[in-house]
Amino acid sequence: MIELRKMRPILLGAALMLSSFLTFAGGNHETEEFNVTETIMHHIKDAHEWHIAEINGKHITFYLPIILVDNGVKIFSSEVFYHGEEKTYTDHEGNTISYIAGTGKGEGYAMFHEKIYKLDENGELAFEHDHPTNAKPWDFSMTRNVIATLLGALVVLLLVIPTANFFRKNGAVAPKGMAKFVEPLILHVRDDIAKANIDEHKYKKYVPFLLTLFFFIWVNNMIGLIPVMGSNLTGSISLTFVLAVLALLATLFSANKNYWKHIFATPGVPIPLLIIMVPIEIIGIFTKPFSLMVRLFANITAGHIIIIALVSIIFINKNMGWAGLSVPMALFISVLELLVAYLQAYLFTMLTALYIGGAVEEAHH
C-alpha cells in the first residue's frame, strides 16, 4: 500500500502528460499530418509563448513579453507574432516558406522558427538555404525558459527559505517539516560533494555555490518532468552554458600556484614535451566545463526526446491500441528520468567540486 501511495505522484504525472498530449496532438491530427520531429523540436526548444494545452480546439496559451534591444528597448506581447500576418517566400527552387510578420507594436519584425528578424524595406524576409538573411535585433525576451528559470528559482527559495527560518527560530536542533527534507540534501552536498573533492581546510568557501548549483539543477530537472509545464530549461544549452561558465570562473579564481604550475610547467616533464603538453593543458581548462555543459544539456534533452517520441508512437500510427506499448515504455522512461534528474544534478555539482578541488590542491611530492 505504501509503495502504491509513493507511486501516486508518478502515475498522476504520467496520466497528466498523456492527457495533455492527447489533446495537443488530437488538434493537430484534424488539420495536418502529425510531424514527430516538429513536435519534439517545438518542445525541447525555447519559445516566446507558453502553450499549456489545447482543449476542444481552444488553446490555453500564455503570450510572453518580447523585449528587443534595437535602437532603444521595445517591449510588447508575443501575441503580435502568434496572431500576426502570415507571409510566404518562394525560393528559387520553388519551395514555399511561411513566416509571421508582427502587427501593432511588433511592426517591422517577423518571427521565423521562434527567432525574431527585422523586416527589410519591402516588409519581407529574404531567405537563403532556408535561413533568413535579415538582421536580427538583440532579443532579451522573457521566453518560456526565462519564466521556467524564475519558477525554478522560486521553488528553490520555497524549499530552502523555510529551512533557514526553521533553524533561525529553533536553533541547533534536529530538523522538522521542510527542514527534514532539505537538510539531508544539504548534508549530501556538503559531505559527499564538497568535502569529498575539495581540500578539508578550503571546502567551506565553496559549499554555498555548490549547494545553489545542485538545488537549481535538480529542481529545474524535476520541473522539466512535469508534463503540462512543457519546459526544457536544463536541456537548454544556454543555461548549461551559464552554469559551466560559472564553474569555470570558480575554478580559475580559486586556482593556486600549484595549479598553474601543473599547466605551464608540469613537474617531471622534459622541456621539448612541454611544447606539446602546454597547449593540451590549456585546452583542458576549457574542455572540463565544456563537458559539463554538454553532459547536462544532452542528458536532459535526450530524456525529453525519448518520452515524447514514445508517446508519439500512438499518433504516428493513429491507433489507440499502440498506447499499450507506448504508455508503459514512456512511464518507464519517466521514472528513469526522475533518477536522471538527481543524477545529473549530482554529477554536475560533483565534477565542479572536483575541478575546484584540483585547482586549490597543494603540491604533495
Binding site: M41, N145, T149, A164, F209, S236, V242
Partner: protein, 164 residues
C-alpha cells in the same frame, strides 16, 4: 543548429537569475543553515564527549566504591578475628588461672594433710613412746632380776617397735 547555440537573451536572464539566487541563498539560507548544522554537530560531539567522560567517572566511582567496600569488609573480618582471638585468649587464661588456683588449693590441701598427718604421727609416736615406756616399765618391773635378760629383752622390744 540553434538547438546547440547559446542564445544571448537566455544566457543573460538565466545568468542573472542564477547569480541573484546564489547571492540571496548564500546570505539568507546557506550560511545560517550551515552555521546551525555545524553548531548542532559540535553540540552533539560535545554531548557525546561529556557522556563518555561521565561514564568513565561513574566507572571510576564504582570501582572506588567497590574498593572501599572490600576494605571495610576486610576491616570487619579483622576486627571479628581479633575479638575472637581475645575471647579465646581470655577463656584460656581464665581456664589456666582456674586450674592453677585449683592446683594450688589441692597443693595446699595436700600440704595441710601432710602437716596434719605429721602432727598426728608425732602424736602417735609420742603416745607410742609413752606406751613403750609404760610397757618397758612393766617389763622392767617383771624381769628386772636378770640384768642380761633385761637388756636383751629391752633391745628385742625396742627392735620390734616399728616407728611406722
Amino acid at each position: 543548429m540553434d538547438l546547440i547555440t547559446p542564445n544571448v537573451g537566455l544566457v543573460f536572464w538565466t545568468g542573472l537569475v542564477f547569480v541573484i539566487l546564489l547571492v540571496l541563498l548564500t546570505k539568507f539560507a546557506w550560511k545560517p543553515i550551515l552555521g546551525m548544522i555545524n553548531k548542532r554537530e559540535q553540540d552533539i560531539a560535545e554531548a557525546l564527549e561529556l557522556a563518555k567522560k561521565t561514564r568513565a567517572e561513574m566507572a571510576a566511582l564504582q570501582s572506588q566504591n567497590e574498593a572501599l567496600l572490600k576494605e571495610a569488609k576486610a576491616e570487619r573480618d579483622a576486627i571479628v578475628k581479633d575479638a575472637r582471638e581475645v575471647a579465646t585468649k581470655m577463656v584460656e587464661e581464665a581456664k589456666s588461672k582456674a586450674k592453677a588456683e585449683a592446683d594450688k588449693m589441692i597443693e595446699d590441701a595436700r600440704t595441710a594433710i601432710q602437716t596434719e598427718k605429721n602432727a598426728a604421727m608425732a602424736d602417735v609416736k609420742s603416745q607410742i613412746a609413752d606406751l613403750a615406756v609404760e610397757i618397758a616399765e612393766k617389763i622392767v618391773r617383771t624381769a628386772i632380776s636378770d640384768d642380761s635378760k633385761q637388756q636383751e629383752l629391752a633391745a628385742k622390744l625396742a627392735g620390734e617397735l616399728n616407728l611406722n
